[in-house]
């Protein structure tokens, strides 16, 4: 066969495969969005692929059934923002210490952090719960936020990033100017590392927003439920046959992440590869 023709045929087959894969990827998400705007009657009548106009009434049904979506939104948002701030600040602080200074035990600490990344949360969560309940910190957001001070994976990421951007001359210049060591970190290096900090921030935010298990173990009061916990209640009998409302509740919990993704996909894609491909 003509090599040119063969290449074109190969290309055509690949595009067909990609389109099929794309349909499989997107149809469930599209169905979720569309059904959130359709009434339960419409959903029961048949499958539709175009949005309808019942978003507000679906929302009203959710509220009437006692699902406080705004409250869940607010709770999840507070936790995600606080977790992100704590993760980004402390992991860059730790990574900076590991990159810039020489001290005894530094290598051991770094190797230890690498091992920590691999430890599953199942090994600590029950012990953590037991200990928090003794301290009276269960059902308190602090128990979800504070552990991020020691986020091993984030330190690993921050260290990889800092190694590629740190300029020793700037640190030395700062010292000559009489800046304190912490001042150099806050005022000189952190701004330089901002793109990396932002990337890490997106990942922490998404992770905290989606986290179901830890909150499900630690939080008990209904008013403090996070979005994934509210989503979990949607399976209950109260919402039986209120399909439109259920889809709306689910859609509301994924839409913010989709928006963040389309706004910052560049950071996300490069951030994933950065963790894995190291020269």
């Amino acid at each position: 066969m003509n090599p040119k023709l063969k290449l074109n045929l190969q290309r055509a087959l690949i595009y067909v495969f990609l389109v099929i894969l794309l349909i499989i990827t997107l149809v469930p998400i599209w169905m979720l969005m569309v059904n959130a705007t359709r009434s339960t009657a419409q959903i029961q009548q048949g499958v539709g692929f175009w949005p309808s106009v019942y978003t507000a009434s679906n929302y009203q049904i959710l509220l009437d059934k006692g699902l406080d979506l705004p409250r869940g939104f607010f709770n999840s948002f507070i936790i995600a923002i606080a977790t992100t701030a704590v993760t980004v600040y402390f992991s860059f602080l730790t990574a900076y210490g590991l990159v810039v200074y020489e001290f005894k035990g530094k290598k051991q600490l770094y190797n230890f952090i690498l091992i920590l990344v691999m430890i599953p949360m199942q090994l600590s969560i029950i012990g953590f719960y037991h200990y928090m309940s003794k301290l009276g910190l269960t059902d308190n957001y602090l128990s979800l936020i504070l552990p991020s001070i020691a986020a091993a994976g984030a330190v690993y990421f921050a260290k990889s990033y800092l190694e590629s951007v740190i300029i020793q001359d700037l640190i030395d210049a700062g010292r000559v100017d009489g800046a304190s060591e912490l001042g150099i970190f806050h005022n000189i290096m952190f701004p330089i590392a901002a793109p990396g900090a932002f990337t890490l921030g997106i990942f922490s935010f998404v992770g905290a927003w989606n986290n179901f298990f830890n909150a499900y173990i630690l939080i008990t009061t209904r008013d403090k439920y996070t979005l994934p916990m509210l989503v979990q209640t949607l399976r209950g009998d109260v919402y039986r046959h209120e399909y439109g409302a259920i889809y709306l509740g689910l859609a509301a919990s994924v839409v913010p992440i989709i928006i963040i993704y389309f706004l910052f996909s560049r950071f996300i894609v490069s951030g994933i590869s950065m963790g894995a491909v190291k020269e």
Binding site: I14, Y15, F17, L21, L22, T25, L26, P28, I29, M31, Q44, G46, V47, F90, S91, T94, G97, L98, V100, Y101, F103, L109, L116, M118, I119, P120, Q122, L123, S124, I126, G127, F128, H130, Y131, L146, P147, I149, A150, V155, F185, N210, F212, F213, Y216, L227, P228, V231, Q232, R235, I246, L250, S253, I257, I258, Y261, I268, S273, A276, V277, E279
Partner: protein, 306 residues
Amino acid sequence: MLRKKTFKLNYGYVFIAPFVIGFLLFGLYPVYNTLALSFTNTTMLTRKDDFVGLDNFIRLFSDKTFLTAVTNTWELWLMNFIPQLGIAMLLAVWFTNVRLKIKGVGIWRLLFFMPNLLMPAAIAALYFSLFSYYGPVNQLMVRGGVYSEAIDFIRNKEVMRGLVVFIQWWMWFGWTAIILMAAMSSISLSLYEAAVIDGARDFQVFRYVTMPLIKPVMIYILVTSLVGGMQMFDIPYLLTDGRGSPANSILTNTIMMYMRFRSNEGHIGASSAIGVMIFIMTSIVALLIFFLLRDKEPKAVKEKEI
């Protein structure tokens, strides 16, 4: 001038102090506490917390449900990991191939990765709705004449297992593809050119140039996916009734751990024992993968140099 012998503070310690303190309080102590609890019969209701030695573990090993949970976790992970790696590898090879010049690589990649970021709890509930008795899948199939009566998917063991595998695959193949692509694009083009000049065909280039060079990244993907797979919870938990139904077919390690934790009495001793077992199992296999695959690498390179 008076020279005082001052203690010179090493700022390295100042910078790492919060991490170390945070780790001791929120990382190490909870792990120690879980280990300690796993040797006791502590429950949340009663005040008892007696040391019972290995009782919890012995009970686990004689419990058929635990065996089912472990087998399920492994099967569900393996069944999604193999196609996940396969499809991701195809995508990465196509997207980085200079001869094929696939258009819009950035957009394909962007869209294929999207499911990964969505809330697993919501995704599980979504698939539950899509496959419910009156759900869209049954509607389409019955109206389309594929089958005449709606199928009760939610009570079908094979369908539910398949669905968990599918959802995990659907959420993760894009992630794997992005990492493989990054690894493949970091390979120097001159290596490919040399292989092509030597008359290597596409598959040979892949097998003898690409594969050996992306091996460290493959190990990373394998270990990360394994650690994640052994923790599988949200999807199988929320897809059915939270007990791994139908008939324990999608009961995983972590679901079982949670069920012990939330049982009537709250057996946190027994629950901890499951957590410890998950850790031991995961670490042994992860270390095995790491050493088996890593040790071979220098040898393979040497052979080729000769």
